[in-house]
């Protein structure tokens, strides 16, 4: 792991590094709390945790501006937090409350924030890719310089929409940044059990898309690769594809007994924990000490407490409003 421009340890650089650490830690502590609240029955439905993959969302999001768009999956708490959605609105959404970021209509899998151009969590695998292509098409037709960042997992690669979307984005040279979070499992199916070609970025290259594989446990590597990729996409050179190699520590969802992988494998990946790795990296460069880490932990814990308080105090949407927002005006039936 290397800090870019290693020679200079300017205060800006330290500030930025600590911000990355803080964002990753927020995602982790937020989700640990969510898992606890799921067990307590406060959060229901499906809950897909991102723990282990934090470096991907946090690293990638650094390259985006507020004008850029983000499309994500049903495992999108990390992307939402990294994009700046308030933790309280996300937690309230997971509670199903009206002050949630989707007014309690979406839950954990469908977080939206139109103002932050966070175009949601899509729970049909690969279903967000065509939408991302269309957002980029609109940007191109309206001559905006924006980039659409599209997150999806290795499972999406087996779907037809993946191939159709890569082809169309490349054919029309659309400003899409494809971010494949390769955590090696499509739910319980290991990559090598579902793909004849497991080097996913090579598939993108076959569509004439610039593509590379990146260590998704190294937040600085993700950030640097994404900055490069976004710069190229923004220049109008068409889409770019990053395969971010990462690992999900927790079960696929809360109901998964994890029969498909060994404890040893999980332990091995925990040895490359993105937060621990970055912590060590920063300490090695005298950018972090125990006191600073404690301050970040306290700060993050306050955020999580606030998020839970927001969710707890939120009101339920009145059942009388059940049919609102199906259409713009009055309901059609």
């Amino acid at each position: 792991m290397s800090i870019h421009r290693t020679a200079a340890k300017s205060s800006n650089e330290r500030e930025h590094a600590l911000s990355l650490l803080r964002q990753m830690l927020l995602i982790r502590r937020f989700e640990e709390k969510a898992a606890e609240l799921y067990s307590a029955g406060k959060i229901r439905g499906f809950l897909h945790l991102y723990i282990g993959e934090e470096a991907v969302a946090v690293g990638a999001m650094q390259a985006l501006t507020p004008e850029d768009a983000v499309v994500a999956t049903y495992r999108e708490h990390g992307q939402a937090l990294a994009r700046g959605l308030p933790a309280g609105k996300i937690m309230a959404e997971m509670y199903g409350k009206a002050n949630g970021c989707s007014r309690g209509r979406g839950g954990s899998m469908h977080l939206f924030d139109a103002g932050r151009r966070f175009f949601g969590g899509y729970a049909i695998v690969a279903g967000g890719l065509p939408v991302a292509v269309g957002l980029a098409l609109a940007d191109k037709m309206l001559e905006r310089q924006a980039v659409t960042a599209c997150f999806f997992g290795d499972g999406a690669v087996a779907e037809g929409e993946f191939h159709e979307s890569l082809n169309l984005a490349a054919l029309w040279r659309l400003p899409v940044l494809f971010l494949c979070e390769n955590n090696l499992y499509a739910m319980g199916t290991a990559l090598e059990r579902s793909e004849s070609q497991t080097d996913i970025h090579l598939k993108a290259q076959n569509y004439n898309i610039a593509a590379e594989a990146v260590d998704g446990m190294d937040v600085l590597a993700v950030e640097a690769a994404t900055q490069r990729a976004v710069a190229q996409v923004r220049r109008g050179d068409g889409p770019y594809f990053l395969e971010l190699r990462t690992y999900r520590y927790r079960a696929h969802s809360m109901s998964d007994p994890e029969l498909y992988r060994s404890k040893e494998e999980v332990a091995q990946w925990r040895g490359r924990d993105p937060i621990a790795l970055f912590d060590a990296c920063l300490r090695g460069r005298d950018m972090l000490d125990d006191a600073a880490m404690k301050a970040i932990e306290t700060d993050v814990a306050n955020d999580v407490d606030w998020a839970v308080a927001e969710a707890e105090k939120g009101a339920w949407e009145p059942v009388a409003d059940l049919e609102r927002d199906v259409y713009a005006g009055a309901a059609a039936a």
């Binding site: 065509p130 939408v131 609109a138 082809n167 199906v326």
Partner: protein
């Protein structure tokens, strides 16, 4: 008033919309250089260029999804799907995304997308190009479904659809494209209203799309037998204009519903149920249905004709009712 074909009316509406609004564009398979599988977009590439008349790869799911994304991004896309059977490849995007995004986002997002596609049988194209699945789409809250049956509606409903803030699917019956008629009607057309195509007092014939012509033909035959049939063209399956249906039943007291789609689980069943719920007291006889035969569409001409509702079937159903 201008005389033109149904095909020209759709084209005129697209041309008018694209001239008026730079955000409107068309994409789909062979809409550009080829001029459209049914020649609907013929000549538009020359006028508007390849940025606004976009030929897509054969990838229904992705170009419909791209239409959704472009609509979210501020454009006003029209997506053409060659035929209704091909639209099944895009069901994921239509049902899981277009129809849900406004609600699922708590009202933050809207998808002002128009999807046009050819529907229906009658051209000997067998079981993968001829079905009438518009009733499936009408099942889904979050989208609107219209079925232009006349030249005027082909133009009017498309222009009205482009004013809607939500996704609209227009089903153009493939046998109508060459039909001639007057292009002007009510302007702007109000979305979601049925049309009274022929007044009558003895029975209400309720239909839509490609079955309208056969129903009008049946009404003419019935008139010769002294039966005055009222013909209602639904025009929109969602929302459904039950007001017009009930108003008709209030003076005819009998209803026959005609559609090309299969009877089991079809849209005629929905109309029938609405009549039971909202106009039961007006009925002097059970609601009758004339629908497509329960077979995948056969190729051979006599078989295909037998599989589709014909004027004589409608006449017979009315005679049994009165």
């Amino acid at each position: 008033m201008a005389k033109m074909t149904y095909r020209e009316a759709v084209r005129d509406a697209m041309r008018e919309a694209m001239r008026a609004d730079p955000l409107v564009f068309l994409m789909g398979e062979d809409v550009g250089k080829y001029g459209g599988a049914f020649a609907v977009s013929h000549g538009l590439l020359e006028e508007f260029g390849p940025q606004r008349i976009r030929d897509t790869p054969l990838s229904e799911s992705t170009f419909v999804g791209a239409g959704i994304g472009a609509a979210l991004g501020g454009m006003r896309p029209i997506v053409e799907i060659m035929t209704i059977n091909f639209s099944l490849l895009a069901l994921d995007q239509i049902v899981n995304n277009a129809a849900t995004l406004r609600h699922m986002s708590g009202g933050q997002l809207g998808v002002p997308l128009v999807i046009r596609m050819a529907t229906g049988g009658g051209r000997q194209l067998a079981a993968q190009h001829s079905h009438s699945l518009e009733g499936w789409y009408a099942h889904i809250p979050g989208i609107k479904v219209a079925t232009p049956a006349t030249v005027a509606d082909a133009r009017g409903l498309l222009l009205a659809a482009l004013q809607e803030p939500d996704p609209v699917i227009l089903f153009e019956h493939a046998t109508l494209y060459s039909q001639e008629g007057e292009s002007e009607d009510e302007t702007p057309m109000q979305f979601g209203r049925a049309a009274l195509r022929r007044p009558g007092k003895d029975v209400s014939l309720i239909t839509y799309g490609g079955a309208l012509g056969k129903t009008m033909n049946a009404a003419t035959q019935l008139a010769e037998q002294g039966v005055e049939a009222e013909v209602i063209d639904l025009r929109s399956l969602r929302p459904l204009d039950t007001e017009t249906i009930f108003a008709s039943l209030a003076h005819t007291h009998r209803a026959v519903i005609i559609e090309e789609a299969w009877k089991s689980g079809g849209f005629a069943a929905e109309v029938s149920a609405r009549i039971m719920e909202g106009a039961f007291d007006a009925l002097d006889a059970p609601v009758a249905r004339v629908c497509g035969a329960e077979v995948p569409m056969p190729y051979a001409q006599p078989l295909e004709r037998a599989a589709l509702p014909q004027p004589e079937d409608i006449v017979k159903a009315v005679q049994e009712l009165i």
